[in-house]
Symmetry: C2
Subunit: 341 residues, 2 copies
């Protein structure tokens, strides 16, 4: 069977239209097939309204009539609506996990629950993590966990370091990914109980390129490949960064609109500002891999528009081409074995 | 005695010159006297080299020959070097605490330790907090704790909510400050053990205008006056925001330099971009009050330049004029009384 991406058509604040427009935009660049998991009538009428573009008409549809809302309780929702588009995308991808992936911009708790249910956990990993690639001046830094967990133990954070390192090796081609542990200062006297315990354990991990405590500003400096933290702190960092980037772009717009010379200047500066906006916009970053589940599952931002979905599809397509499932889990198992000695 | 600000001349990465230049810049706008706590010879030779401007020559000097380094252990350093410029600034301010304040851009752990030693704690407050005013689109949001503590209990966070509310009432003139508790989602099912316990207690506080869980992006939206979190998470948020703002400004600069039309556009856009830069630059924000100590103690950023020190001095001058010590501690005591009923 060819490589496939199972897309939860009804997941996300702007679903289903933005999801379908994302497929339309990305399809010419993809080697994988996209399977549209959702309500066939709604999908087909949208395809017709769009003038039946071949990118969409050639997609497979897996019928699913139910939808899980953004605020439904994760475990309850996937139990009661097991055939909704979100869990069905995970189930279908898990059936051919070697060259399939699931993508949803829906309820992230439900994506986590459905991924655990259908893909299962990687044996040595106690808790999966959501990993996000943050933009830096010249490249990207992977930060995890940004919200799969509300509370973590040191053993979880150690496995996050392994999962993140392996992802960066395979997908971003970093040979010896530099790992930092987010703390409130670089000195070892700093940190809280969790980071202190984690630091003691990470120091002993010969398979990791661990550099100790780092502060949050290093996320954007490009000095590290992987930065790990507990899911509560990581989520706060992610949301704060989104809020700040959005506010900065709004302030910039406001300043430009407030003066005539600035509006003139903007005319010349527009292409540069657009390139800049692209660099800091989460929409260009794609989807966040859910690491630690035994397969390929990706979480897109709830506010994803068609650009964000298209970026996510391209990124996942690449991950499948790079044989992430094999490279990842073979590598991981070897690492875990080494760590036990 | 007139109002006084005791400045730790040798605190900070760019001390002492930037600190003295900050005084020079701010002095014409201040009602308080600035007392320069530091090495007299070094201070005087710099004043001479500057052409003996009257703003600096009229400042009082409190001689102190020792300096606490940025990476010295806080408690040990203030015990061994009790007459260093940092603890001396706190001690002198505490001797006339009703209309004095201490300011340092030095070792923040040592500022905390020295402030606790000389000012003491406000009786009902178990732990002081460092509070930072973050810029929003139209105003500012106070976030605390951003690093006085590595680990907190629910009772600490409840007092942070009271301290922050009172600060915003007195200094920023917000009548009923809206308080949010930073969490990994707005639903009450979210949060970790600490936020869940804190939420239960805050709901019962009739003296606070508490709105429940909020996500990190709300720091910059201006929807809340006070946002509280534990010192570990708050520090990570602060550092991440600084790193992101810096990277965004660098990316913008890079994009402008990379194209000729953009450089032309920049000529017209420059005043607008400078106003924008001012809004997002920590240097314009001033110093962070250390709330919960029984007096006025302010922490400036370690990388403060003369602009940052001047902003801090103006802000502290205003706080003294507004009679912050009285308003704050009288108000706080009343609130604590009410809360006990």
């Amino acid at each position: 069977m060819s490589a496939r991406i199972y897309l939860d058509v009804h997941g996300g604040d702007r679903a289903p239209h933005c999801n379908l427009d994302g497929v339309l935009k990305a399809a010419p660049h993809l080697k994988s097939e996209v399977v549209l998991v959702g309500k066939p009538k709604e999908i087909q009428s949208y395809i017709k309204a769009k003038g039946s573009p071949k990118e969409l008409t050639s997609c497979l549809i897996s019928p699913s009539e139910e939808v899980i809302g953004m605020h439904e309780k994760p475990l309850e929702s996937i139990r009661k609506k097991r055939d909704a588009s979100l869990p069905m995308a995970c189930r279908l991808a898990s059936e051919n996990r070697e060259n399939s992936a699931a993508l949803s911009a829906g309820n992230s708790g439900a994506i986590l629950a459905a991924s655990l249910k259908y893909f299962g956990r990687v044996p040595e990993v106690e808790r999966p993590a959501i990993a996000v690639l943050f933009p830096t001046l010249n490249d990207r830094t992977l930060v995890l966990d940004v919200g799969a967990n509300s509370e973590n133990k040191a053993s979880h954070l150690v496995s996050f370091a392994r999962l993140g390192s392996q992802y960066m090796r395979v997908v971003e081609d970093r040979t010896h990914p530099k790992v930092g542990l987010i703390s409130n200062g670089e000195e070892t006297s700093k940190g809280n109980t969790l980071t202190q315990k984690t630091h003691e354990r990470l120091k002993e991990c010969k398979d990791l390129n661990y550099f100790g405590y780092v502060e949050g500003n290093k996320i954007f400096s490009g000095d590290f490949d992987v930065m790990i933290t507990d899911g509560f702190t990581g989520n706060a960092l992610l949301k704060t960064s989104e809020g700040l980037a959005k506010t900065i772009l709004l302030l910039l717009k406001e300043e430009i609109q407030n003066s005539l010379p600035a509006r003139l200047g903007y005319f010349f500066l527009k292409p540069a500002l657009n390139r800049f906006r692209k660099k800091v916009d989460y929409k260009e970053i794609g989807a966040a891999p859910l690491l630690g589940v035994n397969g390929l599952s990706f979480v897109a931002h709830g506010r994803s528009d068609h650009v964000a979905i298209a970026s996510a599809l391209k990124q996942i397509d690449l991950a499948i081409q790079l044989n992430l499932y094999h490279a990842f889990f073979n590598g991981k198992t070897e690492e875990a074995k080494r760590a036990q000695h």
